[in-house]
């Protein structure tokens, strides 16, 4: 990996800073996310997913690029739009879909729901559904690493809209002054729920244009190119791991579907979606693989395997019962129960 290059290109594998294994992994994860998210969408329309769900269709390159750049001990802090990041860290499709379907086989057996996916064994330290809160929480995890001399990096994902809430500002300043090993990834998909981010933000690039307010480098990247995301995230994580402090990375992207399951996204200007579908991360990456000489059959193999996994997971979820009633009152307190009195 000596030959660093700025943009991806078909130089052939010998001259490739990323390498075939990583590249295949990047594709595999993107495909897995795409298929699982599409399935989630179908299941919702079959009325098998209750409550809400927030898909990352179109944003797969960010989840994949960052996750592949992470080491096993690194920690992810996600939002309600966290299926992608959870899957990217290696959590099974069944456990994610099971949670979306609020079944006993879900990651939290249905207690948390789609907005709170957590898998500590995979380093997924929770998904937080109140905008802003997890930025300081990620700082705390990074502080623990610094304090204990542990070498992991905490990574925090959030959207463009999140940059306008107070906790964003507090967390960024805090991370810098304590020089914490934390990487903030802003997925700028151009919208908060239904409101274009430009309508409510004083600067064009809600994260990158504010980096200087915390003495940070301005980092703005193409979030639909997994290689670019991977390289940028890797550099930021290396820096954090070596004691160089936090980074803030703004990834430009677009969500193909509405904000949540309930949103048909009618507020979009005509043509916008189509333009971004041209830049679909899977399309880009499939082409990339071919350019790097991966065979069509290898690519198709990845895709087929993903479909198989998602189908199997779906069946397993459908077969899973809901959690037993006793679960209602477990784990409120550390003793496992909910007793607030004697």
């Amino acid at each position: 990996m000596a030959n660093k290059q700025d943009g991806p290109g078909p130089q052939g594998l010998t001259n490739d800073d990323i390498g075939q294994d990583v590249r295949l992994e990047l594709y595999r994860i993107q495909v897995k996310i795409r298929d699982a998210e599409k399935r989630a969408n179908d299941l919702f329309f079959q009325n098998l997913i209750k409550g809400t769900s927030h898909l990352s269709l179109g944003q797969e390159a960010i989840a994949a690029g960052v996750a592949v750049a992470m080491e096993a001990n690194d920690k992810s802090f996600c939002t309600y739009r966290g299926h992608a990041h959870t899957l990217a860290r290696g959590v099974s499709v069944e456990k994610v879909l099971g949670e979306l379907m609020l079944r006993d086989n879900g990651l939290m057996r249905g207690k948390g729901g789609s907005m709170h996916l957590t898998s500590v064994e995979h380093g997924v330290m929770g998904s937080y559904a109140i905008i802003g809160a997890h930025l300081p929480i990620a700082c705390g995890s990074a502080w623990r690493a610094q304090y204990l001399g542990e070498k992991d990096v905490s990574v925090c994902f959030f959207g463009d809209g999140t940059t306008n809430i107070g906790a964003f500002h507090e967390a960024l300043n805090f991370a810098v002054i304590w020089k914490l090993p934390v990487v903030f990834i802003c997925e700028n998909n151009l919208y908060m729920e239904y409101t274009p981010i430009g309508d409510v933000t004083a600067v064009e690039h809600p994260a990158a244009d504010r980096a200087s307010a915390y003495g940070l480098e301005r980092i703005l990247i193409d979030g639909n190119d997994a290689d670019v995301v991977y390289r940028t995230a890797k550099a930021a994580m290396d820096k954090a791991r070596e004691g160089g402090g936090p980074s803030l990375i703004e990834c430009l992207t677009y969500r193909h579907s509405g904000h949540s399951r309930a949103d048909p996204a009618k507020y979009r200007p005509p043509g916008e979606l189509e333009k971004w579908l041209e830049k679909d991360p899977l399309k880009i990456y499939r082409k990339r693989l071919a350019e790097y000489g991966i065979s069509e059959s290898d690519i198709a193999g990845i895709e087929a395997e993903s479909k198989r996994v998602v189908d199997e997971a779906t069946e397993a979820c459908k077969a899973s019962p809901p959690a037993p009633h006793e679960l209602l009152t477990t784990d409120v307190y550390a003793d496992g129960g909910w007793a607030w009195r004697n």
Binding site: G110, Y128, I130, N164, Y194, L328
Partner: protein, 329 residues
Amino acid sequence: MAELTYRDAVARAITQEMERDERVVLLGEDVAKAGGVFKATVGLYERFGEKRVRDTPISEQAFMGAAMGAAMTGLRPIADIMFADFAAVCFDFFANEFPKLRYMTNGQLGCPLVIRTANGGGARFGAQHSQSIENWTMMIPGLKVVAPSSPVDVIGLMAAAIRDDNPVIFHEHKSLYATKGEVPDGEILDTLGTAKILRPGKDATIVALALMVPRALAAAETLAAEHGIDCEVIDVRSLVPLDTNTILNSVAKTGRLFTVEENPRLCGWGAEIASIVADEAFWDLDGPIVRITTPHIPLPAADHLEDLALPNPPRIVERIARTMNGSAR
């Protein structure tokens, strides 16, 4: 007279007041162009324009503060908290700013605004999007707190809230938005601080709020039909001011009090009412006061577990029948 949803009642109430008073303005995340995430403000942006109906960034502190500053100086803002749970990210305004301004300034300034919240559970949104926070607001001196259970009450109480010169927290229940009710034509204006007896009864008083009102009513029918217990059901409607007269008079008649609360148990609004009755109507009581609440737990996302958590007619019936037939414990 027309049938209207609770959701549409919100827009109708705001329309009524915006037409009446130029100073009334509405702001919040996605309330304008999108008509709100619960579609309760659909059409207002089109009707009143972007000067009066405004989308905000995800900056609850900024727009709660902006509502307050505008209220202090002459407007009548209505600000929207998309899910009641998010009151926590701007709670300084609820706890320390809106309600204390008039007192701290010895009456020089007031804060006539309305904060709408989409409150309560039942939508399988999980622990951070489903809470009943009426007690978070009831406990703060200086706030008024309203939580209607029907479309007509939404209109009348919202109108009263907007015209009130105090900060009023207006809890809409997200699981009631789709419910319907008869609503008279023309202007509707109700009075804050008035409870309503929705079902007269002689054996026991049930006090309920918002989503718990239809459930208490259903339970009362079953209790009458299957257990021969005739319950009086009171919709509190307004936690502050609190219509203690209606409650105390009812208990004087029935001798028994049950509260049905969606908020988790500890320090719920029912505790306050129970404590008032245990003091002022003690000699009227023929037996224990019993509170039926959501257990003191965060809410689960799973549908069957959430259904288990919130008080529902069978649980209300069971608890009241057991108490009325049995001993104190």
